[in-house]
């Protein structure tokens, strides 16, 4: 039974895409087939982490939404970049990425014309079926828009990424209220970019009481991640870093 996980944040800059990419790899390393879809159509970027360059990308999510290709044609096997060599014939682990277009015209077209969000749902389901996915991770656009709401509706699990910041705290309440009104199955929080010296236990208690929701991970403000500048996957380069260990907790919780 495959599981759909949406990763969302109310505001930009929370590190959501990095969390999504590294969490996807962490889950895959546990022996799963993982698909990642970049539905942040207005400001795509997760493909960079997987070294998926423009010259390799012939189709993307936008093409599917315009009816120009099947969604699986826009999915790229990025297992090499994500995990490294997998023995021939082994169908697990695998990581697939469906990028959104980085072309200005394509982004403009989405903003101008919009698209049928129902198609996204069809695409997600088809992708799970065609690629035999165990997990589908949906990287969403920050804030509230139609594709975000749709991804929340269809999710088995919503992961809400926020920083220890009053604006994030307030905005995340909006997302949580919407998630509840959409009858989402499960919601968890990931607190990211926790500055050094902050009392983690106290923060966890505070956040859980504000939202009446479990905090799955407390991720430190990560200078190594900043220095990597999206050039590759953090969990591969720093397998024993606290950030990586915390993401493993999230992966364990999702794969239980």
């Amino acid at each position: 039974m495959s599981k759909i996980v949406s990763i969302h944040s109310f505001r930009g800059g929370t590190g959501k895409s990095n969390v999504t990419a590294n969490l996807g790899v962490t889950i895959a390393r546990a022996g799963y087939r993982v698909g990642i879809v970049d539905t942040d159509i207005q400001s795509p970027g997760i493909h960079v982490v997987f070294h998926l360059n423009e010259d390799r990308v012939t189709r993307c999510l936008n093409d599917f939404l315009w009816g120009d290709c099947a969604i699986e044609e826009a999915a790229y096997d990025v297992t090499d970049a994500a995990i490294g060599n997998v023995a021939d014939g082994d169908d697990r682990p695998r990581v697939f990425l469906v990028p959104a277009s980085i072309k200005t015209n394509e982004i403009g077209r989405v903003l101008k014309e919009g698209y049928d969000v129902g198609l996204l749902n069809d695409g997600f389901k088809r992708l799970i079926q065609k690629l035999d996915l165990d997990f589908l991770l949906i990287d969403t656009h920050p804030g509230v828009n139609e594709e975000t709401l749709l991804s929340i509706v269809i999710s088995d699990h919503l992961l809400l990424v926020l920083r220890p910041d009053q604006q994030d705290f307030q905005g995340s309440l909006v997302t949580l209220e919407l998630a509840r009104r959409l009858d989402v199955n499960a919601v968890s929080l990931i607190v990211n970019k926790i500055p050094p010296g902050m009392d983690r236990a106290q923060l966890k208690t505070k956040v859980e009481s504000i939202y009446s929701t479990d905090v799955l991970a407390l991720l430190p403000l990560n200078f190594e991640l900043v220095r990597m500048a999206s050039n590759g996957l953090f969990v591969n380069r720093y397998p024993e870093h606290p950030f990586t260990r915390e993401l493993r907790l999230v992966a364990n919780s999702l794969t239980k």
Binding site: D116, V117, G118, L120, N121, D122, K125, E146, L149, L150, I152, V153, I154, L178, R181, L182, D183, N185
Partner: protein, 346 residues
């Protein structure tokens, strides 16, 4: 007068509407409708209506399916936003307006509720009372149009169009090309009108009534609109999308009864047997159907069978009735809640 489907007296908020749309986008019914649409899109039987030149211009490939629940959730597949003229699918709704304007007894003195198994445009009246047999054939529909109140013709037209607007949840417009075409070629309807005038079944404002009837048939709708209209009847007369009451609850069963027994031209009996839900078709290619307490379904495909019903539309309803046990007499253990299919599984 307005009220909400949930009895709160408030129209659904923009946010509610958005959340509802998102749930619909992820609903299992959407997948079913897409599958059925794909299955019958290649069905090429039937011919596009050509009895008036404007209708013949329809693209035979157009095909849309829409479903709207009594909670206001909607699912649209295919050419669901393609406009076409409502034609005879308008008849139950004008009958409803006549009932509201005059009450059941008076309307029944002018229009019967008896299926006849003859063509929709037959020039025939009940030989005992000289009434049209039912409001779903042209004679009965013209008699119903005659009963629409108004101090003058413009007010009658306005009331009629506003009534359709309440059902659709938006302002509807007349396709003037089709209206002109209807008016120029409507000699048979004039003959029916004059026959009824001869028996005092319609008033002496016949010319205006015929104009009103031609306009009624020429209203532009989509199959999404038809589904909302059906859902309004399924919801006791309250439009579940806008929360606005379109018809007194008292008369909803009158409309559903005649739709059930007479709604599908001379295929009505077989429809009731095979599909078994109240419905009305139009030669524009639309079918509006009602699943009481659950929702409305609208289909649009212009190619018609010999009886004037959309070929693909009938196939869609046959399939839906079978899959979900929609038939009114279906055994309880085979009936499924269509409403539950509108929301993503949890």
């Amino acid at each position: 007068m307005s009220s909400s489907p949930n009895g709160t007296g408030d129209s659904p908020s923009h946010l509610d509407a958005l959340l509802t749309r998102m749930k619909s986008a992820a609903s299992p019914l959407r997948e079913v409708l897409r599958e059925i649409h794909a299955k019958y899109a290649s069905l090429d039987d039937g011919v596009v209506a050509s009895y008036i030149p404007e209708l013949a211009k329809a693209n035979p490939a157009w095909f849309g399916i829409s479903a709207v629940s009594v909670q206001g959730q909607s699912i649209d597949v295919g050419d669901s936003d393609q406009q076409f003229t409502i034609q005879s699918a308008s008849k139950p709704f004008t009958f409803g307006l006549a009932l509201e304007d005059h009450g059941r007894e008076h309307v029944l003195s002018k229009i019967g509720v008896q299926p006849i198994g003859e063509a929709f445009n037959s020039i025939t009246l009940d030989q005992v009372a000289n009434r049209p047999f039912n409001p779903m054939i042209n004679a009965g529909a013209i008699a119903a149009a005659d009963l629409v109140h108004g101090k003058d013709y413009p007010e009658r037209v306005t009331r009629m169009i506003e009534m359709f607007g309440r059902y659709c949840g938006r302002t509807v417009y007349v396709d003037n090309s089709v209206f002109t075409s209807e008016r120029m070629t409507g000699h048979r309807n004039r003959a029916i009108g004059h026959l009824m005038l001869n028996f005092d079944m319609v008033s002496d404002q016949l010319d205006e009534t015929l104009e009103l009837y031609f306009k009624q048939c020429s209203l532009l709708v989509t199959c999404h609109d038809l589904a909302v209209m059906g859902a309004t009847l399924a919801n006791g007369g309250v439009n579940p999308v806008t929360g606005v009451r379109a018809i007194d609850a008292e008369y909803v069963k009158d409309l559903l009864s005649v739709m059930h027994t007479c709604g599908m031209y001379d295929y009505a009996g077989e429809w009731a047997y095979r599909i078994g839900i109240p419905a009305k078709s139009g030669v524009g290619g639309g079918i509006v159907a009602v699943i009481p307490g659950q929702g409305g379904i609208g289909t649009f495909s212009p190619k018609l069978d010999v009886k004037g019903n959309s070929v693909r539309g009938i196939k869609v309803f046959e399939e839906l009735a079978q899959r979900f046990g929609l038939h009114v007499f279906e055994a309880d253990d085979k009936k499924q809640s269509l409403v539950s299919q509108f929301s993503p599984p949890k």
